[in-house]
Structures are given as structure tokens and as C-alpha cells.
Amino acid sequence: MELFKPIPAAAGTNQEFSMPSILTCDDCGKQSLAALVHLNGSTCPFCGGLFRMPARARIAMLADADTFIETDETLTSTDPLKFPKYSEKLKKAKADSGLTDAIVTGTCAIEGYPAALAVMDSYFMMGSMGAVVGEKICDLAEIALAKRLPLIIVSASGGARMQEGMISLLQMTRTTMAVNKLGDAGLLYVSVLTHPTTGGVTASFAMQGDVILAEPKALIGFAGPRVITQTVNEELPDAFQKAEYLYQQGMIDGIVKRGELKAALAQILALHADNREASHDQ
């Protein structure tokens, strides 16, 4: 489902990107106004095809009304390497998306079950992971640990944000260790993969969930399709790296339609709620 072109080119990298006002459905080819689409579960009004969902729309869909309390809402990149043109791109991404970086984090209730929730936003520099994304996930994991909450991360990312060089690569380490700590404490971590999840995010926290779910047709992989095509010099099969294909390969637990995601998460939270209480009593 290539909704916007160019899609991320390389494992662990991001593309320049800006928020479009008109979206073209990859399934039926029809165009819709982005503002209206995002009021409707970011789905195509003509055929029900999925567009990328902005983080705030996703949170509104998953969290019970008025329960989401945002964390680290002002955290923003300092352009640590003074990378060419990065600060201009950041400024534009912030203006286009209304976000400070490619993730929104906080605590909330889902069908009454308390949870820590992080949602990535591919409209912000292709959802690439730099220091801010890493820091917000680590902070949220610490909050989850302190309050003994399950953690849910909804990923959408082209991979590491190369404008932050090794600092972005290191976020793979930091987020890995943060979710490891939750695991050591007996806390649940659910990873939800949405279109697209690739590169350093796939190769770290996105694939470390106790339960890993994906949205239909989401592109999920380590290397992007273009890199693989260049490497192997052959056409890739249609289904390659799609959620359905990963499911067949045994890499994920299930594929859940967007409209059913909240109920699925609530069920998983419910099944682990006793465990959470039991651990709490120790």
C-alpha cells in the first residue's frame, strides 16, 4: 500500500516528507480530502482502503474519551549533529503535522483498562526514530514500570533518522533495554505494526512485543523494497513484506482491522490484568 511516494528507500533511513492535503487511495485510486479522511478512521470513503493514520487520530480511536494524559509533549530535537538542512526540515515537519516529533506518548484507559500508549506518526519525517522518539519511549516505559502499566506501542516508521547519525542508531539500544526492563518486571508489552514499519524500528522495539499485531496490508520489513531490489536484482513478489506475508512466515501474532484494534487490545489487556495485579501484590 504505497500511499505516498517516494516510500522509504533504505533500511534505517527516512525520506523527506510533507503532509498532503489530498490523499490518493492505493486500493481504488480515488482521491479524497485528507481532513475528511482522518475524521473517518483514515480510511478511503470509496472502498475502505487504509491511509496512514496521524498519531492523534489513532489515540482518539484507541483511548477512552478524556483519559489520555500526554507525556514529554514538548520534547523536540536539538539537531545534535548540526546536520545539513535538518533544522529546516524539522521546522517544516512541525508546522505540517502540529507535532514536536514523530511520536506521541502518554497514559490512558482502553475499555477501562489502564495502559501506557505510544503512537508513531509517519507524517512527521516518515516516522523516523531519532533521539526524541527514543527518549519518549524510554520515559514512557519508566512510567509504565513505576505505575505497573502494560505498554502499547503503535509503530509507523521508515527507520532511524539519519540526520541524527549514531544518536539515532543508539535509540535501538535504548528502546530495547527499556522494553526489556518491563519484561523483567512481568509487565505486558504489545506492539502494533502499521504501514510502514521498517529499518531500525522493525529491528528493535517493534519486534520485541510479547504480542505483535499488524494492520492489514501494512509494509513491514528490515530493508525497504528498493534496497532489496537493488541487492538481489530481481522483481519482488506482490505480497512480499506485507503484514499477511509476515503472518504466514510466523513473524507476527495476528492481523487486526483498524476498526477492531481497540477491542483486540482491550481483550489482550483483560487477559493480562490478573497477572498485573498479582505481580503488584508481591
Binding site: 528507500a9 533504505a10 533500511a11 534505517g12 533511513t13 525520506q15 523527506e16 545534535p80 549533529l81 546536520f83 545539513p84 538542512k85 531519532g130 533521539a131 527514543g134 527518549e135 524510554c138 532511524a160 539519519m162 540526520q163 541524527e164 547519525g165 549514531m166 544518536i167 539515532s168 542508531l169 543508539l170 535501538m172 539500544t173 535504548r174 530495547t176 533495554m177 522494553v179 526489556n180 526492563k181 523483567d184 521498517t198 531500525g200 522493525t202 529491528a203 528493535s204 522495539f205 517493534a206 519486534m207 520485541q208 513491514i220 520489513g221 528490515f222 530493508a223 534496497v227 532489496i228 541487492t231 538481489v232 530481481e234 519482488l236 512480499f240 513484506q241 512466515q249 510466523g250 513473524m251
Partner: protein, 272 residues
């Protein structure tokens, strides 16, 4: 070797890249031969196969037994093909995880030698979950209850290198680099021009000195001017002393404190 920077000068990024990629530069097996008194190699991931791009085994260095894990690129064209040019498949990382688990079981420190352009990007690697296995490997090494010392001996190519570079001490040989993406890849994506790789290399902050400055690496091992396959001893003696010194610093900590310190170390590398 060619293109070495003048002694005392800080290496230019592009020189580090060129030197790190030299085909006759010493590789994991060469370091093991030069540093270990004995080495027993273990093979196979017990699931899918054997991956020559990843060397794993048990060796004795200066009287201390280590689990040794390293990428191997190969020198001759035959060896390079066999090793897939140092780009591991998922089975290489699975083999490495076996080695880490055994290191924990037998309570011996882990020495990792990093030298890969990156994890392999191909259809079969994706089919077998390259992303999943690297994620699992990061988690495995991050929680290893024994000291982990990593040395970048050549190319530190992105996630495929990071998998064995999460460590309590990270050392870098003088003429190496560690980067989130190849400078060529970065240039073609961001500057739409692969020939601007040298500029990208400077911008990415990937030299040993950059990593020290960013608080990610702990030391740089100086290479002799004539450091080569035929003349490793002076340089590897320094490396050996640095590795054993790092281990002496780390030993005595209990396993939980070790893992906690590794976590704290990563938290401190904020990037703000």
C-alpha cells in the same frame, strides 16, 4: 595499506571509511589468531544453518577464557562469497545468540569484533525475519549477565553491526567507522547524489573520535603505521591490553548490576 592519515591528526571521516573497507585489512579470524592462545569455533544456529559471515567460539586471551563473536568478510574472492561479504543472514545472528547464552551459562565474558557493511538485505533474509532476529539479538545481548566488550575492527554498518556492539565497553580501532547508514546511501537519499558520499560521511559523525565525543565509545586503539595482516602484533598487543583492562574494570560486578549499568549507560546517551 594506503590513505592513512598522518599521525596525530584526527582522522577524516572519508579516510576512516576507505581504510575500514580495505580488503587486506585484518578481520575477525586474523584478530583471533593474533590475540588468542587457543580458539574453539562453534558452528550452526540449530534452526536453519551455518552462516560464515559470523564467527563464534570460545577462546583464551591472556589467560582469560572469552566467548568470541565477530563478523567475517573474507579476504579472497572465494572467502568473501562464502562470508557473503560480511553481511550476516538471520542464522548468523541466531548462532551468535547461542554463543551469548552459552557465555552466560558458563559465566565467561563476551568479546565482540564488529566488521560488517550491514546485515544482509535480501528476500530470504526478510523471509526469515531479519528485523525480528536483530531485535531479538539486541535484547539478548543487552540483558546478558556477563561482561560484554565490543571492538569495531573495520566497518560498523548500522543495525547489523549494532547487534554485537551493545557493550559495557566499546573500543574502536583507529581506522574504522560506525554509522547509522552508509555515506553513499545517505548521500543518495538526502542529497539525491551518491557522489556526495564524502560530504555525507563528514556530516554523519561516524569516526572513532566522533563516537568518543558523543559518549558512545570508550577508547580508540592506535594502529601501527605498518599495521597489516603480516604485522599485527604491536597493534593487537595494545588491543589485548585494552580488552583485558576493560574486563578487569567490569569483573567483580554482580550480574544484575552489570545489566543495570549497561541500561544506565544507554540512558545517559541521550542525544540532547
Amino acid at each position: 595499506m594506503t590513505n592513512r592519515q598522518t599521525k596525530g591528526e584526527q582522522a577524516r571521516a572519508w579516510d576512516c571509511i576507505k581504510n575500514a573497507r580495505l580488503q587486506d585489512r585484518p578481520q575477525t579470524r586474523d584478530y583471533i589468531r593474533a590475540m588468542a592462545d587457543e580458539f574453539f569455533e562453534v558452528h550452526g544456529d540449530r534452526t536453519l544453518g551455518e552462516d560464515a559471515a559470523m564467527v563464534t567460539g570460545v577462546g583464551r586471551i591472556g589467560g582469560q577464557v572469552f566467548t568470541i563473536i565477530g563478523h567475517q568478510k573474507g579476504h579472497t574472492i572465494e572467502e568473501r562469497k562464502l562470508c557473503n561479504f560480511g553481511m550476516p543472514h538471520p542464522s548468523g545472528y541466531r548462532k551468535s545468540m547461542r554463543a551469548i547464552k552459552q557465555a552466560e551459562k558458563f559465566n565467561r565474558p563476551i568479546l565482540c569484533l564488529v566488521d560488517t557493511p550491514g546485515a544482509f538485505c535480501g528476500v530470504d533474509a526478510e523471509e526469515r525475519g531479519q528485523g525480528n532476529v536483530i531485535a531479538e539479538h539486541l535484547s539478548c545481548i543487552a540483558s546478558a549477565k556477563v561482561p560484554v566488550i565490543s571492538v569495531v575492527i573495520g566497518e560498523g554498518g548500522s543495525g547489523g553491526a549494532l547487534a554485537i556492539a551493545i557493550a559495557d565497553k566499546l573500543l574502536m580501532m583507529e581506522n574504522t567507522y560506525f554509522s547509522v547508514i552508509t555515506p553513499e546511501g545517505c548521500a543518495s537519499i538526502l542529497f539525491k547524489d551518491a557522489s556526495k558520499a564524502e560530504i555525507a560521511a563528514e556530516s554523519l559523525a561516524l569516526t572513532p573520535a566522533d563516537l568518543i565525543r558523543l559518549g558512545m565509545a570508550d577508547g580508540i586503539i592506535r594502529e601501527d603505521d605498518d599495521f597489516s595482516l603480516d604485522n599485527m602484533k604491536g597493534t593487537t598487543d595494545r588491543l589485548k591490553a585494552a580488552v583485558l583492562g576493560a574486563l578487569a574494570e567490569l569483573s567483580g560486578r554482580n550480574p544484575e548490576a552489570l545489566v543495570q549499568a549497561r541500561y544506565q549507560r544507554s540512558l545517559n546517551m541521550k542525544g540532547f
